[in-house]
């Protein structure tokens, strides 16, 4: 029972990680890529870590419950830090004056940034 739940959660997490990575590779500019990176990562970490936390409750004891709480604490930290990091990076990009990619605007100023 616990094993099935863990496997389901982790496979779902892996799927979202996959989508994140594909999104990061495919989206046209870094604003949109950040949408993929910021969101998929948070949810898939959540799924995988919750799966592991549940698996950890296989043998219920005081120590294991504490470890589960610690894993949940890591999750909380990720939920606080990950949007902030996303915001910080995208603010840096906005600060440097790069226009977001759009349908009407042509893509000048994007390609010549390669170093």
């Amino acid at each position: 029972m616990i094993n099935t739940l863990t496997i389901t959660l982790m496979i779902a997490g892996l799927f979202f990680f996959f989508a994140t990575t594909v999104g990061v590779l495919r989206f046209p500019d870094f604003y949109t890529r950040m949408h993929a990176a910021g969101k998929g990562d948070t949810l898939s970490s959540l799924l995988i870590l919750v799966g592991l936390a549940i698996y950890n409750l296989h043998h219920i004891s005081a120590g294991n419950i504490l470890v589960t709480i610690k894993i949940l604490f890591i999750l909380m930290f990720i939920f606080l830090a990950s949007p902030t990091a996303t915001h910080a990076i995208i603010d840096a990009g906005y600060e440097s004056g790069i226009k977001p990619w759009g349908k009407e605007s042509n893509r000048e100023g994007q390609d010549d940034l390669a170093d």
């Binding site: 094993n3 496997i7 982790m10 997490g13 892996l14 990680f17 996959f18 994140t20 990575t21 594909v22 990061v24 590779l25 870094f30 890529r33 950040m34 990176a37 990562d41 898939s44 970490s45 995988i48 870590l49 592991l52 698996y55 950890n56 120590g63 504490l66 470890v67 610690k70 894993i71 604490f73 890591i74 930290f77 990720i78 830090a81 990950s82 902030t84 990091a85 910080a88 990076i89 995208i90 603010d91 840096a92 990009g93 600060e95 440097s96 004056g97 790069i98 994007q110 390609d111 940034l113 390669a114 170093d115």
Partner: protein, 106 residues
């Protein structure tokens, strides 16, 4: 069950390889930072998975927590760099190029 965790770990490593493409080939420095950030999140998860494979997660959660904290610091530091330089291109010496004062040399 252990085999499943190992398979998960290997798959996560493959995803890292894809994210590494962004880290290495950019095109902008922001993309690199994003790639590094993704690798960092995956590492946090992978640390706990390795702990589960060893069967001693209680020893690995501390590392993952420290890891998440320091990953955050790195991202903030990088973004502050741009708050000062306002330039994501590598050419030129940056806008706020630091010039040494004459009295500093004496």
């Amino acid at each position: 069950m252990s085999n499943f965790f190992i398979a998960t770990g290997v798959v996560l490593c493959l995803f890292m390889l894809l994210a590494l493409y962004r880290t290495i080939f950019g095109p902008t420095i922001i993309d690199r930072m994003m790639g590094a950030n993704i690798i960092g999140t995956k590492t946090t998860v992978l640390l706990i998975i390795i702990g589960t494979i060893y069967g001693r997660v209680d020893m690995f959660v501390d590392i993952a927590l420290a890891y998440a904290m320091l990953n955050f610091i790195v991202t903030i530091a990088a973004s502050r760099y741009f708050a000062h330089h306002k330039n994501i291109r590598a050419e030129g010496y940056g806008v706020l190029h630091y010039t040494p004062t004459k009295e500093a040399d004496k």
